[in-house]
Structures are given as structure tokens and as C-alpha cells.
Amino acid sequence: MIETRIEGAGYVAGKSVLRQVELNAGEGEVILVAGPSGSGKTSYFLAATGVMSNLLGGWVDGVVKLGKINPLEPSGFLNVPRIVGVVLQDPEKQIAMPTPYDEIAFTLENIGFKGALERRVREILDRFGLFNKAFNSIEDLSGGEKRRVTLAAAIVHDPEILLLDEPTASLDPWAVRSVREFVAENKSRGKAVIVIEHKARFFLDLADRVVVMSDGKVVEVLDTQAKAGRSLFKLEDMGVDVGISSSVASRTYHAGCRGELVRARDVDAGYGGFGVVTIEDLEICRGEVVALVGPNGSGKTTVLKTLAGLLKPIRGRVDRRGRAFYVPQTPDYTFVHTSAAKEVEEALSRAPELAGIAKGVGLDVWREVPPYRLSHGQRRWLSILIALSYRPDVLLLDEPTTGLDLKAYKGLVDILREASMRSALVISTHDVRVVKDLADRVYITSEGRLLEVDPAKAVAVLEEAWR
């Protein structure tokens, strides 16, 4: 159903970002495309769907067939949506309409659906558990619900082929499970599914083959039999997160408070007068790493902002000693200068001791490019460098590992460990590795309350939730 033999492909003439990529998928097959950031996974997605050559002014040499369609030809590209369903990395960069109903109807209206459109939309909303939220604003849905809207919109016209680009990015483990169920269901219905994912562990058991990319090429193809034991260690060596081992050495935590920095007791945190999360008792001390876990939309970011002093509690008081700094999930929000060089220069002038970190992550190459044009990983590093340059006593990070590959993740953990010697760290995360590798204490946001849980138990719950 999917046949790709790409000799070369690129966004600008003469510069190839993909070379010798051969990837095929038959009926009922799931192919997992893995590899570190910048390995060419998303470029493969854009080349295989015809977007690179038909929309982005790029070029693709080779053969691509999706069913009987050649998406590299303009006439073939036009018909891609009839047989292909796509899911992109970030639901907010995919959803074009304001409600789940409209978003799903949009696909059907576009392809000229012949049947009863309203009935079909309602059926699919029901199947994805969105029936009661059909006319809610997309902005009021949780991350998991937004993801379900994109899955529903991808499948509503019953395509033969599904292409999913990083479908678990920013999702909590419960939402990851719904993506896994979606892939498994479509595999059993005979669809050809390609899942592009750097957190390969979520789909290893469902995949018929794992294709590893690096530097724009396919460097390894593992079939079902080989996806175990030593092959997995080999994958991990290639920068693929297969989740077989703790990726970094464990942290030494000295119990006992080395100076209380944040204290919140009987606090209601929320927006616009509506309580979202009740914090019964929270104390954070210097040298501690506290992880906040919980489903998408359960109020973790609200708690972070309240602890940082950016949101006034609805009830109660948060006592803070020293400086707090909040790093949002989207690193771009952190920048105030129009060149990356200026941001780095300003950060290092405030905290020259960070020069080593800047050099280690490649930010010492002071480039006059806007920070927004750096890679996602570099933007993430820059935002953390900026935060550290303020020498915060309390550093609050919202989903700091989103979009980072294994190597970048390990680098981040090293930096945060060092930072935890001087400061208290509060990290909102869905990433079980953060809880395992960094957290001394774990809190969960559940049913409007913030509760402390045993870290080992939290790891077990998070690991179990997506399976």
C-alpha cells in the first residue's frame, strides 16, 4: 500500500535532507520510523505525502506510491487526502476549526463526502468519546482530547493509509494509550500505518518493522523477530528511546529540608475565580526536585504559575523566599531579543558561569539569527539557559522534555541536576523518565487536588497507564 524509494529529497535545490530512503508498508502493517531529532523523520513524512515537492517548493527524486497514487505528481497529490489520513505532531498546529464537530466535518466537506455528513460526524465523535464535547471550543479541551479530535478527523473518511507524525508528543500516558489503541485498531482493520515517533517504546509491540533513520538515511531496519533483547540496546545506542534502561545514573537525594523556599497551605489555584486545583499542603526546599504529574488539563501548569507568583491564588497564600522563574512549554515565549546571539550574550553577562553549558549545547556560536529560527532542541536549551542566568531559587519548568530526543534528554538531565544543587526545581511532566531520573518527590493533580504520592508508585502508575 505504501512504497517509497527516495533517492534524494530536499527543501532547496542541490541540498538533500533525505538520501536512499526505502520504506514499504502493506495491508495491516504498522511501520515505526524512529531516530533522533534532525534525522529526517518529518522530512520523510513531507516527502512521502508529496507536501515537500508540491507545497514547499522542494524536490523529491525517486518513487513514492500511496495505494495507486503517485503523490509526487500534482494530480496524484490532489488525491492523497482520499486515501490517506494524517496526524501531525502538535494538535494546535493541525486543527483548523473551532469545535470538534467542525473539525471532523471539515475533512468530509473537503473530500465531498456523499453520505449523511452529520450522522457520520456524530458517529465518529461518539467512537472517540467526544460526543458530549462536539460543540465545545477546542481551547477548552485537554491535550488528550485535542489529540482525539485529530485522530477522529484523520479516520472519518475511512482512508486506507494512516501517517502519524510524533502522535504522542505532549500527551499524558493515558492519552498515549488512546493513540496506541487507535493504531492497534486500524492495524486490525487492514490499514497500512506509518508511525513516526522518537519515543519508540510506545509502539514497539505494535510495529511490524522498526525503521531507524539518522542523518537523512535509513540506517537500520528491524523486523518483528529482531525487536527484542540485544537489538533494543542497539536501538538505544542509535539514540532511539526504547525505554529498556534508566538512561542516566540515579540522583543522590539528601532528605531533610535545606531551607524552605515555597510554602502553600490550603490554596486554591485557578483562573478567573474558578478553582482548578486545591493545594492542601506543599513545602519545597532548596536542593529538591519536585515532579508534578497528572492527566492533560488537570491543572499542572496552573499550579506552576501559582507557585511562580504569576497567578494570584483564588484562596489562600503562597509564601515564597527568593526568586522564582517559570519556563513555559513553548520556549519561544521566553525570548525578548530578536537575535539568538543577543539572548546568549545577555544571559552570560548575568551569569558568566553558564558559558560551559552554552558551549556544551552549541549556543556559544553566537548567531545573528532570530532565536525562533533555531531548532526546537536549541530553543529549549536557550530558554533554560535564560532561566538559569537569573539564578532562580525556584526554577519551575513546564514539560521541559517535550520534543527532545534521547541524547538531548540526557544533556538536559545533567544540567537540571546541577541546577538542583543550588535551587529547588518544580517540573510539570508526563515523562516517566523525569520522575525516575530526577524527582525526589512527586505530586499528582487528580480530581481538583494536588496530592503527594510515593515516587516509585508514581513511576509504576505512569508506566502502566499507557500500556
Binding site: 482520499r82 498546529k93 493541525q94 476549526m97 473551532p98 466535518a105 465531498g112 478527523a153 504569576l310 537569573y390
Partner: protein, 241 residues
Amino acid sequence: MPRLKPKPWALLAYSVGVTIIAVASSSWQTLAVTFLLAGLPGILLGLARFRFLVLLVPLTVIGTFINTMMIYYAGVAREPGSIVFEAGPLEVPEFALETTGIIALRVFSFSGAGLLLVSLTHPREALRSLSEEIGLPKGIAFSLAFALRLLPLVRRDLGEIMAVRRLRGYRTLPITPSDYSTIIAPLLSVTLERALWVGISSELRGFRLRRVKRRRLEAGLPEAVLVALLLIEVVAFFKFS
């Protein structure tokens, strides 16, 4: 119950009409009429949903005022009028206040008319109405419809940007052009990236295949009210020009 909300095509036509009058007129009486009939209701409706748009007010007033003062001090103002305010070397001539007032009324008139469209229209409904009822090319209709979807996201982005600015010790009330550029740059970066991927997603979901079936233009009482308002503005334009 009779329909109270005007159709998207009528709101678009109204906002285009108001914009033409506001741009073509330099009489404060005409602009006061367009401001009262389109600008003010649009701004009030719009601000209720998108409070961040309040930034437009200082941006327009301060920006224009600084410009007029520069023109005055450069000695190129043709009729500066008498000095209204004086403090040391600073002189504020009549010309600066008048010009600032006229330009502010003009900007608030057409931005208010635009906000009427944004506040009273729903993206999918706008896409269908603009392409099927008035035959606007579907690509343009989609861009307009998607802009409506972007506004709540921009509001959220702006909240995050302001939060970090506060922590970094930067002003959250923008005063200088540099304040505006450092707020707008991240906003644009995030919005453009979002727009690019939504464009790709829409193409891969068959937007190019979308057939536009022309429908008869529907008009009722709300559209008649808009026509009446526009007529008043046209009359004011000819009377005071």
C-alpha cells in the same frame, strides 16, 4: 425566534465599506460617525472576548502622537496651529492633537468593524458563507476563517509572553517601539509556524478538493440593519467631506 446575527458575508461587506470610508475621509465628523456606528460596538464586543486587543489603543494613540510631534519638531507641519500645552522645551501644537484624534478615530473605526466580523462569526460558517454566498475564492475565505480560529490562541500566547516578561524584568505595558517589537516577534513566530502546519494539514485533508457550491445570498433583518448603518456613514461622508 428570528435570526439576530448578521451573515458573515454581510459583516465582511460592512467592515470593507467602513474601512473604505474611514480611509478616504479626513473629516473628524465623518470619522466620529464611523467610530460610533462601527468602531465602538466592534471594540466593545471584541474586547469582551479578546482583551489583549486593548494593546491597540496605546499603540495607535502613542505611536501617532510621537509621529506628529516629530513632524512638528522637524518643521514640516504645514499648519501647526496654536500651542495647546507647553512644559519647558516641550510644545504640543493643535496639529498634533487633531491629527492624533483623526488617525485614532480612523484606526478604531476599521479595527472595530473588523472586530464585529471576528466576534460574530464562526470559522466554518464564515468559510462556507464567504465562498458559497459571495463567491470569494476558497483560499481567501479559508485564510479569513482561520484567522478567527487563531485569535483565541494569540490571546493565550500573549498571556505566556507577558508572564515571562514580568519574570525577566521587562515591561508588560508596552511603551516604546522596542517593547512592541519584542512582544510581537515571538507572537508572530509562533503564529506563523502554526499557520504553516495548519496549511499543510488542511491540504492533506483535501482542502484543494473542496467544491464550492454557490448558494443564493440570504438576507434578513440583521443585514438590513447593517445596510442602514452603512448608508448613514456614506451620507456623513458626502455631507462632511
